[in-house]
């Protein structure tokens, strides 16, 4: 397996894309300030080659020949249907980012070295693609770390502001902690099986508990699932928009890929894993959307929605794992199909939404939605694409988000109908309701985001004068919006590709039996109905054309932008309903002589406390700091003599340990 098959089938596509990215990576490092159009062109072309290979190419096994070797294992790669789905995601988002980025980087041109950006960006795309085709744990970790480092460099590109530097550091710490758990899990699995190859990891029963849980925690930290999501809403808003898009849309999915491969469809078979995934997924979905509702920073709002969607994907994986446990191939298939398809869909619409946020950030110079408004008039393309993305993320038919959520609903329903235990069945129905609640909250959140940002009138001068982004920025968004629509219509074809994941170890029901809704037909009927109503209205309006007038203001005089409903007011009822979860409080202060009837000044302030952060993580961070201050600073004094002494002591202790045995 070491060589010979290196240039066959799919690996030609993959290899070409990788070489192009390596080229960009090297050129960017040499020519840090370079602004050549070749950078985005080649990066995007490599993405296109990869996506084309993933869709049309076949499976492959290949290794990079010696002398390339990683100490204990070689550079072994395996391309199977599961990795091909993720390669397609990486390729498609790569193309879109290459289209979008030049226009966006132009706005940051004096603050960041553009060549270096492309270098790190292609390194990120390269390492993500390599992660999803790694065949053994050592290559996986190597690429995983390359991915962490390149994404850290990208988060920190615009590092003039203190908050960005802080966010980059937080992100770095989170990736370290995640990798630590992952490494421990991998070592444990190696100890149990004696092999680094993923395909040899056959562990089941209670022996699997240790590695399964450690790997789960490590991957969940990367995926940004509750309760390890804290870095996500900090790091994603700090990064440039195309980076947020790729990180949120694609990089989180590499962790999902590894979970699917190692914990669900492969061989680390820890029985309670299905329930763990399902429950963590439920909490994550709810938690993400709940906090998203409270955010006013558009990118942070989107980042919290990533927590929500990762939760939904974990629910799919949980359903699949439960299906595997109870030997029900239909449930297994629905769960995997829902989770993997939702990975794809979330990558598309979340990147699209982050691009929209990027255009707004670049043109209106703010991400605070309370300062925006009325952008649909000057930014029709961005607005239309953002609305399509919002509709897709709210799982509204006929777009792609609906298809994957329906698969997850169907998985839950099948679980409720066919599982043996009453508890599992009842749980299935309840979680359907839970998903519906999360969906309704997401709808509220995106109605808030779209309407406050794009509708009404501008709340600040910079919003009023904001212009549409460059044609490249529009093209990147239109490309992804089109995929949202197309993927909603081509569900059976996509499912066929996803079904390939399962053919080897579980009976597969054909895609046309899983997905029976005639979506193109229904969408056609809906469009036709709308067109008929529209034509009818047109005919009716001939006699009495519509007039334009000001918005009704009860006769009190002109309405201003300040009298519009704000995002805070919009979500206030929902925030109050779940107030116990984060101690939501609104303080209103009236001042003046006769305060009640004729207040001179009214100030209102809303406030919430994220308990997980303040009650769990802050004490830990505080403890680590205190511990370092009291103890570690005595050892790490900066004096070389003491370091030498420390080394001698450690050596003696180690020798004692060794000889004691």
């Amino acid at each position: 397996m070491s060589n010979g098959v290196f240039l066959s089938g799919f690996s030609i596509f993959c290899g070409t894309a990788f070489l192009l990215w390596v080229l960009i990576c090297a050129c960017g490092l040499i020519w840090k300030k370079g602004r050549s159009a070749l950078f985005p062109f080649i990066t995007g072309a490599a993405g296109a080659i990869l996506a084309a290979g993933a869709v049309f190419g076949g499976n492959a096994v290949f290794s990079i020949p010696l002398p390339w070797f990683l100490g204990v294992a070689g550079f072994d790669f395996l391309i199977d249907p599961l990795s091909r789905v993720f390669l397609a995601i990486i390729g498609i988002v790569g193309i879109a980012a290459a289209l979008f980025s030049p226009g966006y980087l132009h706005h940051l041109r004096n603050r960041i070295p553009v060549g270096f950006f492309w270098s790190a960006f292609s390194a990120l795309l390269l390492s993500m693609s390599a992660v999803v085709i790694s065949a053994n744990a050592v290559v996986f970790l190597f690429m995983w770390e390359l991915m962490a480092i390149s994404s850290f460099a990208l988060v920190a590109t615009d590092n003039e502001s203190r908050s960005v530097r802080g966010a980059a550091l937080t992100y770095l710490v989170a990736t370290r902690i995640g990798t630590a758990f992952l490494l421990a899990g991998f070592l444990w699995a190696y100890k149990l099986t004696g092999s680094w190859a993923f395909s040899a990891w056959h562990i089941s029963g209670s022996a699997a508990a240790g590695p399964a849980l450690l790997i789960f925690i490590g991957l969940a930290t990367k995926a940004g699932s509750w309760p390890f999501h804290l870095w996500l809403p900090i790091a994603h808003p700090a990064a440039p928009a195309p980076v947020s898009a790729v990180m949120s849309g694609v990089m989180l999915k590499t962790a999902i890929y590894a979970m699917a491969r190692l914990l669900v469809i492969n061989h680390i078979d820890f029985p309670p894993m299905g329930a763990i995934l399902l429950i963590i997924g439920c909490i994550s979905a709810f938690w993400g959307v709940l906090f998203a509702l409270l955010q006013h920073d558009l990118k942070r709002l989107l980042a919290y929605h990533s927590v929500e969607n990762i939760g939904i994907i974990l629910m799919g994986l949980g359903i699949a794992a439960i299906g595997g446990q109870i030997h029900n191939p239909l449930i297994l298939q629905l769960g995997i199909a829902g989770a993997v398809f939702h990975c794809f869909n979330h990558a598309i619409f979340k990147s699209l939404l982050f691009f929209g946020a990027g255009v707004i950030d670049a043109r209106a110079h703010t991400r605070d939605i309370e300062k925006l408004g009325g952008l649909i008039k000057n930014m029709p393309f961005t607005a239309a694409c953002f609305i399509i993305g919002s509709a897709a993320i709210c799982a509204l038919p006929p777009l792609n988000g609906f298809a994957s959520e329906l698969l997850i609903y169907t998985g839950l329903f099948t679980m409720a109908g066919q599982a043996a235990s009453v508890g599992v069945r009842f749980g299935g129905v309840l979680i359907m309701g839970w998903l519906a609640m999360v969906g309704a909250m997401a709808l509220a959140c995106f109605v808030k985001a779209v309407s406050v940002v794009f509708l009404g009138s501008a709340r600040s001068p910079q919003a009023q004068h904001a212009k549409e982004g460059t044609s490249g920025m529009a093209a990147g968004q239109v490309f992804l919006a089109a995929i949202c629509v197309i993927a909603g219509f081509c569900v059976p074809q996509i499912l066929k590709m996803i079904n390939g994941i399962l053919t080897d170890f579980s009976p597969v029901i054909p895609a046309q039996n899983i997905w029976t809704i005639p979506m193109p037909l229904l969408a056609g009927v809906l469009l036709l109905t709308t067109a008929i109503i529209w034509a009818w209205m047109r005919i009716a309006s001939r006699k009495n054309p519509a007039k334009q007038f000001i918005t009704w203001e009860c006769g009190f005089g002109a309405l201003g932008p300040r009298t519009q409903y704000t995002a805070t007011s919009f979500v206030q009822p929902i925030a109050r309903m779940f107030g116990a979860v984060y101690h939501y409080a609104v303080h209103i202060e009236l001042s003046g002589k006769d305060r009640r009837h004729f207040p001179e000044k009214i100030s209102a302030e809303s406030d919430y406390e994220p308990y997980l952060q303040t009650r769990v993580y802050s004490p830990i961070v505080k403890f680590v700091r205190k511990f370092s201050g009291l103890f570690l600073s005595r050892i790490q004094t900066g004096s070389i003599h003491q370091y030498l002494l420390n080394m001698v002591f450690v050596l003696i202790i180690l020798l004692l340990v060794v000889f004691h045995k």
Binding site: K377, G417, V429, M432, G439, G456, I517, L521, T551, Y565
Partner: protein, 304 residues
């Protein structure tokens, strides 16, 4: 052919008639004569003839939303199971209840955006409350229908209502539907459709900027949605009642319409006795729907 005609009759006349019956019964309970039964239809025709005024702040979303919402409701109304009418072959899969609820959700998405579009606080207030209520109502609907579907083992309403379900589950689910419908349709005790104080309204505040033709199709859409939700509750009751056994389709259809009108009368009578709830207690009311549907699910799971 007769089915197509029945559909058309149902979709054009019955929603208005249902609204007319509710108004008439409410008026009679208050010792008023009340408007003619077809008054909502006359209103519709009148509004269609009038001109409309559009806010200068509003964008194309404002014009698109009522049309999109109406077409979504029309398609949903065709897809839900009406007694005496069989869904054409090949369309059974389209009656998937998640699809129908999410499609209605798409209509709601556009209506909420339209409410926010004019930049008026009333619109914002209505939209905010509408979004809030659906957080309680949608889980109730989905858990309720899922409980019904468990015995048929299908998510398609056409199959669920053909196969039948246990009467206990049906009664609990129908009650959950009824409460969820009152919340979703902005009726008493959640919202008062007849009030004229904007601050207390939900749905009426949302459509404050709509006028003329735009208002006409918005009102038609509301009537249609009332028909869909109350119809679903009525059909659920009907299918387990002893009256309903192997009748000819036309009789079944007529019984179905009668049941829908009866549910409408029930709504009107209930509205005559109850008052609008304090806004803060609305969530407690809507929570009943969720609890009832969870009970239905428990019964369905335990019996199956």
């Amino acid at each position: 052919m007769i089915y197509v005609l029945l559909y058309i009759v149902m979709l054009t006349v019955i929603p208005f008639l249902l609204m007319g019956i509710i108004r008439k019964v409410k008026a009679l309970m208050q010792n008023r004569i009340g408007p003619p039964l077809l008054q909502p239809f006359y209103d519709f025709a009148k509004l269609m003839k009038k001109g409309e005024t559009i806010s200068a702040t509003a964008s194309s979303i404002f014009l698109l939303a009522p049309k999109a919402a109406l077409s979504v409701s029309l398609v949903a109304a065709v897809l839900i199971p009406w007694s005496g009418i069989t869904v054409p072959t090949g369309w059974e899969a389209a009656t998937n209840f998640i699809f129908i609820i999410y499609m209605l959700g798409a209509g709601k998405f556009f209506s909420l955006l339209a409410a926010m579009d004019a930049g008026s606080s009333f619109g914002g207030l209505g939209a905010s409350r509408e979004a809030y209520i659906s957080i309680m109502a949608e889980p109730a609907l989905i858990i309720g229908i899922a409980a019904l579907g468990l015995s048929a083992g299908s998510m398609n309403l056409a199959h669920i209502y053909k196969t039948g379900f246990s009467p206990f589950v049906a009664v609990l689910t129908a009650m959950a539907f009824f409460i969820a419908a009152l919340s979703e349709l902005s009726r008493m005790p959640v919202d008062d459709p007849t009030t004229h104080l904007e601050l207390t309204m939900i749905h009426e505040a949302m459509i404050l900027e709509n006028s003329g033709r735009n208002l006409a199709i918005t009102e038609y859409c509301v009537a249609l949605r009332t028909c869909i939700f109350l119809g679903l509750a009525a059909q659920t009751f009907l299918r387990v009642s002893p009256l309903y056994k192997n009748l000819p389709p036309l009789t079944e259809f007529i019984i179905g319409i009668a049941a829908l009108f009866l549910t409408g009368i029930f709504v009107a009578v209930a509205e005559g006795f109850i008052v609008r709830l304090n806004w803060r207690r609305v969530s407690n009311f809507a929570a009943f729907a969720v609890v009832l549907s969870i009970l239905a699910a428990l019964v369905a799971v335990a019996r199956g």
